[in-house]
């Protein structure tokens, strides 16, 4: 399974003590050039570059036609009243996800909304850290008898907070209550 990651996902995920679990879930995670350009901190950049050298992350070069479609998506998200607009780096990921069936990794609500509301993007799998961690637990990439603690670790390390309702649903499915 392949994925494409946006900046919002990477800059949080890179702070997690179990960040390499990502590579047990996905064969390769693509990082668009526009996303790479936004990563700034030494810690995050070092992990990204090291993972690229190991072939676990892979640079994704946006082609002109893909960028054009992404720009069009940026505009479309601003035409639907109530729909949060997405910016170009996120739009690139969503377009790539649709074209090549990559799982889109994001923490951007605009992307989640676009994949839910815009008909041509409804088939795209968009995962947050919540879904990635759930997949890692389900598949045994992360072995834990207390899944709630694994999610709590993520919240602690990254200061990213999972919506309680969504977290409870995932924990219920995994068999470990909050």
């Amino acid at each position: 399974m392949f994925a494409v990651a946006d900046t919002c996902f990477l800059i949080d995920w890179a702070r997690w003590r179990r960040r390499d679990a990502l590579f047990g879930v996905f064969r390769t995670v693509f990082v668009p050039e526009s996303v790479l350009g936004e990563v700034r901190s030494e810690a995050t950049l070092s992990w990204v570059v090291e993972s690229m050298a190991q072939g676990r992350l892979s640079l994704f070069t946006e082609t002109p036609d893909l960028i054009e479609e992404a720009r069009s998506l940026v505009e479309r998200t601003r035409l639907v009243p109530g729909l949060r607009g997405v910016d170009l780096p996120e739009a690139v990921c969503l377009v790539a996800g649709r074209r090549w069936r990559y799982v889109v990794l994001t923490e951007n609500r605009g992307v989640l909304m676009a994949a839910d509301i815009l008909e041509e993007y409804r088939g795209v799998r968009v995962w947050r850290a919540l879904e990635v961690i759930a997949a890692a637990l389900r598949s045994g990439v992360i072995a834990s008898s207390r899944p709630a603690e694994v999610f709590a670790e993520y919240e602690e390390d990254t200061k990213h907070f999972f919506p309680r309702r969504d977290l409870e649903a995932v924990l219920h499915e995994l068999g470990g209550e909050a």
Binding site: E33, L36, G37, E42, V49, M52, A53, L59, T61
Partner: protein, 73 residues
């Protein structure tokens, strides 16, 4: 050529790059350039290294030369 032979060639090339690199020069560079040079040493991939550094391929090649990292074809 068998895949194992390619892997062996790549391993040898990486060792040459590591051994010949001017690590003092590399350590003195700004973050992105340093990481790009280290990435290049590990992989020999100039284009991706240039994206990490945020420079053109030609500029990255110039950095490679200044860091004394050979292009091992």
């Amino acid at each position: 050529m068998a895949a194992s032979r390619w892997l062996e060639l790549e391993r040898e090339a990486r060792e040459v790059r590591r051994r010949m690199a001017d690590w003092d020069f590399i350590r003195r560079q700004p973050l992105r350039v340093r990481l790009a040079l280290e990435y290049y040493i590990e992989t020999g991939d100039l284009y991706v290294a240039s994206r990490i550094a945020g420079v053109t391929v030609e500029e990255m090649n110039e950095l490679r030369v200044r860091a004394n990292i050979p292009n091992v074809a």
